[in-house]
Amino acid sequence: MVPKILILPDLGIDDQPVTLSVWLARRGARVKEGEPLVEVHCGGATVDLPSPADGLLAEKLAREDETLTVGQRLAAIEEAV
């Protein structure tokens, strides 16, 4: 089964960097679609990014405090068996 990938969307803030501030779920955790997975920080805003699917948080593809780019792959969600 192909994992679903959480991607950093365009937040519409062009003049300030986006960083990954904190993971909100641990690797291997069972998550639901829409459940906050990771918080990113950009200037005066933080944004909780929701899981794109039900399943297991199989892989974290970025580190806390890492500077991110729009479209970057952040997490892989695998279907729970």
Binding site: I13, G34, G44, A45
Partner: protein
Amino acid sequence: MLAYFLDRLPFARCLELMRRLLVEVGDRDDGQIVLLLGEHPNLITIGRGGSPGNVRQDNSALKSREIEAIYVNRGGGCLLHCPGQLAIYPLVPLAWHGFTVGEFLDRFQAGIIEALADLNVPARTLPGIHGIWGRTGQLAAVGVAVRSWVTYYGAYLNVDPPLGLFRLVDSNPHQPSPPAPTTPWCPPTKLRSVPGEGGSMSSLMAERRGSIKMTMVRAALVGRLAEAFGCDRYHLFTGHPLLRGEGKKDEGRMPKVERKPNDE
């Protein structure tokens, strides 16, 4: 838009209210916006862009002033809150309105700037940093959070706080320079360049060199923020039903103003 005047409210209680309203706003399918306006007792909050190093006093000094410092999950840095500072918390369902986070911030700041212009206080944003500045210094700090694509937290507008308290924190340790007007959503006439800026906090009272009533500021903000977020109509309430027993006066739903129909 529903606007609630909360008077003075402990920060933790207000945050709890916002978290409950987040769910309500997110569950609706009509794009309803909720705006909370109130003041907090003395407190320091450290946002994701701040650090304990931005607090200029040690714990014992803060304790002697009965000021607590807490971490919060909003954007922005280390901020001091106190009576005389108006907390402005819009809960906006971004997806329903088709706003990105950046567009929401632009509209939010532009609405505040328009309200300040109504109060004869010229103000502007600076490039590369969120917040609002006047001739005498920073007038409002901005720090929001987004969950399930609904905004919470917001901005803190210094109306007539004791400015000496702001020396306790460094709110903009990395403020870029030089400043320049950057809010294209505002009419250019409202964005005329104003001399002076800097990291120091100022207030509407300092800008006007005279007293200003919190009620005037709240009224100007509600109208301008409704416009900024594309609302044709708004309702004003004193207190909030979920805060029964918290306010000093009535806590019921008391609609005061209604404008054009057919708005969310």
